[in-house]
């Protein structure tokens, strides 16, 4: 779960905008996350396909400094044809 405000300790996954199998581009809104201050759009930093959703709608997830993303995994397409699995 990324830290989306300076005082945020956990985020509630309010709504997924993408489902498993969707193509995702950098900048696309993946989900809406409720923080202590406001409901924020969470955007993808990668291009790829959404392979797996680890957090259901309505669940709260603590801010995780290691991963920074609400537990979705996407396969990243490199334009040279190399596929890299990245945990977003």
């Amino acid at each position: 779960m990324p830290k989306m405000s300076d005082t945020m300790t956990e985020g509630v996954l309010a709504k997924w905008h993408k489902k498993v199998g969707d193509q995702v581009k950098s900048g696309d809104v993946l989900a809406e996350v409720e923080t202590d201050k406001a409901t924020m759009d969470f955007e993808s930093f990668q291009d790829g396909t959404l392979l797996y959703i680890g957090v259901e709608e309505g669940k709260a997830v603590p801010v995780d400094p290691c991963h920074g993303y609400p537990h979705a995994i996407a396969e990243r397409y490199h334009d040279r044809g190399r596929n890299t699995k990245m945990e977003l």
């Binding site: 830290k3 989306m4 300076d6 406001a38 759009d41």
Partner: protein, 349 residues
């Protein structure tokens, strides 16, 4: 739409001729693309790192506004000074600070351009004549005129570009500064980066006089709006303003009409503007536009762009690696850079 982007020509307020004109060449376009892409990718990475808590505190991203600096880079010389507010990562890069030094400063590491003591809002670089990096809204306006005063006093032909936002122009200090700068013909270019919103407050909700450039007119300062999404328009306006300043004709006030794609800072849900407005400005993205021009004029081919993407990615990735591996400042650094006088009596061991 809060205002339409007008491709306004810079209207001459003085009767003297332009002393010099800096031509826009193929190399200018290539430099614009490379520098704007570096700013864009660097800021995108900074946003991502903030989510991962590598960068803490405040973080104000410049994404969307790159043309304002690119068009200045093609005009300014190394000796010219630059001062701005807190949306300053790109200004440091534009002035020549390395991506390593800026990223390390964001991380708070000792190898940062401000020794890790400034953070996102306080980038400084003496060698490159970059005077920061200021948190107080509008506080940098009189400082910028002061830098210009020093240049005139020393008899150099260097100028000072003083950047501010659309919120900062409401500060009383702007009026005092404009009056003195005009009266004493200081070599300062005042630049308002008008992205339409002071945090979440639109220009229309702030004032009846929404043409911000007109704030310079009562003081006799030649003033003009500029399409801040177009590096050519920015370059031409800056060229004329800088020439006037170097010739001793005094200040100019440029209102750069631009847009930031992201929120004011990191915890901004942007409820004050519509997605349609954002998309309409993304359609005028300066990096895409310069890329199209380069291909159209055959200044470079697709391969050049691929190599440039790789080059910029490598620079940004290296800045992250450098920052990860750099040391934190020593605890003793709490007591340095506070007073000019060494062994100041009130700092105890």
């Amino acid at each position: 739409m809060r205002f339409s982007i007008e491709r306004e020509l810079f209207t001459h307020m003085s009767s003297t001729e332009i002393m010099s004109s800096i031509e826009i060449t193929k190399d200018t376009y290539l430099m614009w693309y490379e520098s704007m892409l570096l700013m864009r990718r660097f800021e995108e990475k900074s946003g991502q790192l903030y989510g991962q808590q590598k960068i803490r505190g405040f973080c104000h991203l410049y994404i969307g506004q790159e043309a304002v600096l690119a068009g200045a880079m093609s005009v300014l010389k190394h000796e010219d000074s630059l001062i701005t507010a807190y949306r300053d990562h790109a200004h440091a890069l534009a002035k020549g600070t390395s991506a390593n030094a800026v990223m390390a400063e964001l991380y708070g590491k000792a190898t940062g351009c401000s020794k890790g003591k400034g953070g996102s809002m306080h980038m400084f670089d003496k060698e490159n004549n970059f005077y920061g990096g200021h948190g107080i809204v509008g506080g940098q306006i009189p400082l910028g005129a002061g830098i210009a005063f020093a240049e005139k006093y020393k008899g150099t032909d260097a100028v000072c570009c003083t950047y501010m936002g659309d919120g900062a122009v409401r500060q009383g200090a702007l009026n005092e500064t404009f009056n003195m700068a005009a009266l004493w013909k200081l070599p300062v270019i005042f630049i308002c980066e008008n992205n339409g919103y002071a945090m979440g407050t639109s220009v229309e909700r702030t004032t009846i006089q929404t043409d911000i450039y007109k704030l310079g007119l009562p003081y006799g300062i030649p003033s003009s709006p500029v399409d801040g999404m177009d590096p050519i328009a920015v370059h031409n306006a800056m060229d004329e303003a800088v020439s006037r300043a170097r010739a001793g004709e005094g200040p100019t006030f440029l209102e750069m009409r631009t847009y930031r794609y992201k929120g004011h800072s990191m915890s901004d849900p942007q409820k004050y503007r519509t997605k349609e407005e954002l998309e309409s400005y993304k359609a005028k993205d300066p990096i895409d536009a310069v890329r199209a021009e380069i291909l159209d004029k055959k200044y470079a081919d697709e391969k050049w762009f691929e190599e440039m993407d790789e080059k910029i990615k490598a620079i940004v990735d290296e800045s992250v690696r450098f920052s990860e591996e750099s040391p934190w400042p020593e605890a003793s650094e709490l007591y340095t850079d506070v007073y000019v006088e060494p062994n100041y009596p009130f700092i105890k061991d």
